[in-house]
Symmetry: C2
Subunit: 207 residues, 2 copies
Amino acid sequence: MKRIAESTVRRLSLYLRFLEDFEQRGQPTISSDELARRGGTTSAQVRKDLSFFGSFGKRGLGYPVAELTAQIREILGLGREWKVYIIGAGKIGAALAGYRGFRDRGFVVIAVYDTDPRKVGHPADEFSVRDMGQLERDAAREKPDIAVLAIPAEGVQPTVDRLVKAGFKAILNFAPAQIQAPADVTIRTVNMALELEGLSYALSNRD
Amino acid sequence: MKRIAESTVRRLSLYLRFLEDFEQRGQPTISSDELARRGGTTSAQVRKDLSFFGSFGKRGLGYPVAELTAQIREILGLGREWKVYIIGAGKIGAALAGYRGFRDRGFVVIAVYDTDPRKVGHPADEFSVRDMGQLERDAAREKPDIAVLAIPAEGVQPTVDRLVKAGFKAILNFAPAQIQAPADVTIRTVNMALELEGLSYALSNRD
DNA sequence: ACATGTGAACTGCTTCACAGCG
DNA sequence: CGCTGTGAAGCAGTTCACATGT
């Protein structure tokens, strides 16, 4: 299959949210124009995005909501549950462990890890924090799919190396650090300081 | 000044981090190539990014680390403190309130707000949660610059309307929702569900 | 008549390659 | 000679516009 732009995949996620709304309201079909307005894009963009994966619409009518919803779920790989380890039981890690938005979409947190002996064994939002030393053994048994990194920047690269060795192919990184990893490991970084600095730049440079 | 791409601004933030490292180590100059390797980009990209704002380097030598650091700080508007309100004292809001990375870069959280009477008055990481009803009055007095939104998706649009009316020109949104706002208000959205779905897509579609 | 699907045109970001200067 | 600064070329993502199917 042809390589798909990351921006396209992000928009598919958005469309999916809107479609779920429309589905719940019992709307049978939806036009690219309607989806576009809801998502802050253009109808041509919507049609192009979808066209990479097939022809889901009917000319003159639009897209069948239920079908398209199912199709996008399939495309995004949301037809199953993904097992998630959270690495780091600090404030961010604990907040993520209790974040309902994850489970609702099929991302099931199954454990939280930390190196700090004072945290290990204690609860972090319904999870008993596990010792980082167990990670490899646990991962071999539980076969988790995704690691969410919520640790200080200093420790990130060694930890990523460990996760890669343990077999993780997908990492969501919340630490403000640049990461090196093999090409077959997908990493998404959420860097809050970076976002804030973008706002700072915007505030400082409007005329 | 010419419009600068968001991608360029993001990279400047990254360069700044690396430059601070190099500065601390006492390295006097740095080449575009060195910066590029550290940031996972190319030397041409680094030079192009910087060239939008001026000529900071010396041919044959590279860039003076201390000077360039100061320049980028200036460009990003980091030569001052920005006052931040956090809206929403749930798990995410509370975690953000205690996040050291903010203050370290000049983003000073001065208050946390919530509508839930059970939370108001109680502490959320060293802050006593304020009633959302006070927001407008407080904002008129304290003149905050940035609002960080950490509330459920349903309430986002009305809250944004309120923040805009209260004078906020910059919003960092953690809710999984699309937002409408006037053009002179800058909004950055961090949507964790979206990032996870990007990973799901990557895991499902590698050959 | 209406709305999709899609080549073609366009826009804008990235990469190239080299002149220019220390 | 080394490394910057930058026009020009290349490429990727978006928008246009229309032929096509219902």
